[in-house]
C-alpha cells in the first residue's frame, strides 16, 4: 500500500490542495475531489481526448497523468475557459454552428481548439485537423466541429 500525499496546484486560477494517492488519475482528482465534472472520461486510455485538460499551457489526457506529477502545476479545465461574462470564441462557435451533440467529447474538443488557436491564431485546414486529431466524436461526423473551429478563427 502507498500512502496518500498532499498535492498543491492551481486549477483555473485558484490555488487548490488535495490529499490523494500519488498514482490517482488527474481525471478522477478533478471530477471526484474537486467536483469539476466538465472534464469527461471516454476511453480511459489516451485514445479519445474526452478528458483533455491543459497543464502548464500544454494539453494532455488527464486519464494518463498521475496526481504526483501535477504538484505545483497550473491546470485549466473546461470550467476555466470562459471569461467572467462571455464564453470563449470557440465555445460560442460550437453553440452557433452545431459543434456539440451529446456533449461528451465537447470539453476536450474545445480545449484542443483553444490550445490550437493560442499556438496558431490563423490555422490552415490541415492545422485544424491535426490539432483535433486526438479527439474523437461519435455524433457529429466531425464536420460541424471542424466548421465551428474555422468560424472561431474568423472572430
Amino acid at each position: 500500500m502507498s500512502t496518500t500525499q498532499v498535492i498543491e496546484f492551481t486549477v483555473n486560477g485558484q490555488a487548490r490542495s488535495v490529499e490523494v494517492f500519488p498514482m490517482a488519475r488527474l481525471l478522477d482528482v478533478l471530477r471526484e475531489q474537486l467536483q469539476l465534472t466538465g472534464t469527461k472520461e471516454g476511453c480511459g486510455e489516451g485514445e479519445c481526448g474526452a478528458c483533455t485538460v491543459s497543464i502548464d499551457g500544454h494539453i494532455v489526457n488527464s486519464c494518463l497523468v498521475p496526481a504526483a506529477q501535477v504538484n505545483g502545476a497550473e491546470i485549466t479545465t473546461i470550467e476555466g475557459v470562459a471569461g467572467a461574462d462571455d464564453l470563449h470564441a470557440v465555445q460560442q462557435a460550437f453553440i452557433d454552428h452545431g459543434g456539440a451533440q451529446c456533449g461528451i467529447c465537447t470539453p476536450g474538443m474545445v480545449l484542443a481548439a483553444v490550445d490550437l488557436l493560442k499556438r496558431n491564431p490563423e490555422p490552415t485546414e490541415n492545422d485544424i485537423r491535426t490539432g483535433l486529431a486526438g479527439n474523437l466524436c461519435r455524433c457529429t461526423g466531425y464536420m460541424k466541429i471542424f466548421e465551428s473551429v474555422v468560424r472561431a478563427c474568423q472572430k
Binding site: 502507498s2 494517492f21 498514482m23 490517482a24 488519475r25 494518463l64 504526483a68 491535426t130 486529431a133 486526438g134
Partner: protein, 289 residues
C-alpha cells in the same frame, strides 16, 4: 478491470542523484515513470504488474537538446512535441520529427518522451526505427557512473534490454552525418492519427553514381524487437538498384523479419507491406540519392 490505485507507489525524488541512489539501494524494486502515456494505459486496464515507481518527469537533468559540430544530444525526457519543434532535428533528422508527429495526438505528444519510447520497448514504437536508422547511441547512468552504448543491440528480445536494475536512460545521441542522404519513413496504421503501427519502416541511404553506396534499413512491428536489417543492407551495398538487386534484397529482408497475426494486422499483410516499402525506398534512393 481497473487497478486498485493504493497498491501503487509513485515517489518523487528531488534530483537525479536521489533517483540513482534509490535505484542503487533497492535494485529491481523501483522502475522509472516518465510521461506515463504507456504505463497509465496498463494501470487503467489492471495490467500494470510492477507496483513501485519513481517519478522522473520533473528531472531537469534529463531534459533539453544540445548540439555540437559532430552530434546532437537529446535528453531522455524530451517530449515528442519538443522533438518536432527543434530546428536541427527538423533539418537533419526529419524521420525522427515525423515519427514524433505521428505518435498519438498532440495531448500524447506533449507527454510522451523519447526515452520512454525506448524503455517501454514496444516493437511497434514509432521513434526507435528512426533512431536506429540514424545510428543513435544511448547513455545509461547509475551511481557507478555513465556509459554510452550503440542503440543497435540494446533491445535483445521482446521487452528485453541491456540495462541494469540500477541504471537509468539519460540521453540519446545522434551523429550529424545526414547531409545528402535520402530519408524514408513510413508508418502504416489504421488511421493517420492515434494509431499503433501495423508496419513502421525507416531507412537512410546514399548513392555513389549508379551504385548504392550505403544505407541503414530498419523496420518495426514485424518482429519481437525493432529490426535493423543488416543482411538486406549487405545484399544491397555496392549494387545497382535494378530488378535483380531488389529481388535479392527482398529475399534477405523476408528472412530477417518475422511478422505475426495479432489484433492490429496479419502476418501476410505486414510482410507484403514491408516488402512494398523496401521497394519504394530503393526506388526513391535510386532517383534521389
Amino acid at each position: 478491470m481497473r487497478a486498485f490505485i493504493p497498491d501503487y507507489q509513485l515517489t518523487t525524488p528531488a534530483s537525479l542523484t536521489d533517483v540513482l541512489a534509490l535505484l542503487n539501494n533497492e535494485p529491481g524494486v523501483w522502475k522509472p515513470f516518465a510521461g506515463g502515456t504507456d504505463l497509465m494505459v496498463l494501470l487503467e486496464a489492471g495490467k500494470l504488474e510492477h507496483r513501485n515507481y519513481i517519478n522522473i518527469w520533473g528531472l531537469r537533468e534529463l531534459r533539453g537538446i544540445e548540439a555540437n559540430d559532430t552530434h546532437i544530444t537529446v535528453g531522455a525526457l524530451t517530449t515528442y512535441t519538443e522533438v518536432q519543434a527543434h530546428p536541427i532535428l527538423r533539418r537533419e533528422f526529419p524521420m525522427l520529427c515525423q515519427a514524433a508527429s505521428e505518435t498519438g495526438g498532440l495531448a500524447i505528444q506533449n507527454r510522451g518522451t523519447l526515452g520512454g519510447n525506448i524503455i517501454n520497448a514496444s516493437p511497434a514504437a514509432d521513434s526507435p526505427p528512426a533512431l536506429l536508422a540514424y545510428d543513435a547511441e544511448i547513455e545509461l547512468v547509475s551511481t557507478r557512473g555513465s556509459r554510452w552504448l550503440p542503440y543497435q543491440g540494446f533491445h535483445t528480445g521482446y521487452k528485453q534490454m541491456q540495462i541494469g536494475p540500477d541504471e537509468l536512460l539519460a540521453r540519446i545521441r545522434l551523429p550529424r552525418n545526414t547531409a545528402g542522404v535520402v530519408h524514408y519513413y513510413r508508418k502504416v496504421g489504421t488511421r493517420k492519427a492515434q494509431a499503433i503501427s501495423k508496419v513502421c519502416f525507416a531507412a537512410v541511404g546514399k548513392m555513389n553514381g549508379e551504385q548504392i553506396d550505403d544505407m541503414r534499413i530498419v523496420i518495426g512491428s514485424v518482429a519481437p524487437i525493432v529490426v535493423r536489417c543488416v543482411k538486406t543492407e549487405a545484399a544491397l551495398r555496392g549494387q545497382k538498384p535494378g530488378d535483380e538487386t531488389i529481388r535479392k534484397a527482398c529475399v534477405s529482408f523476408e528472412q530477417e523479419i518475422s511478422p505475426i497475426d495479432d489484433i492490429r494486422s496479419t502476418a501476410k499483410y505486414r510482410l507484403q507491406v514491408a516488402k512494398n516499402l523496401l521497394v519504394d525506398f530503393l526506388t526513391k534512393l535510386s532517383q534521389n540519392g
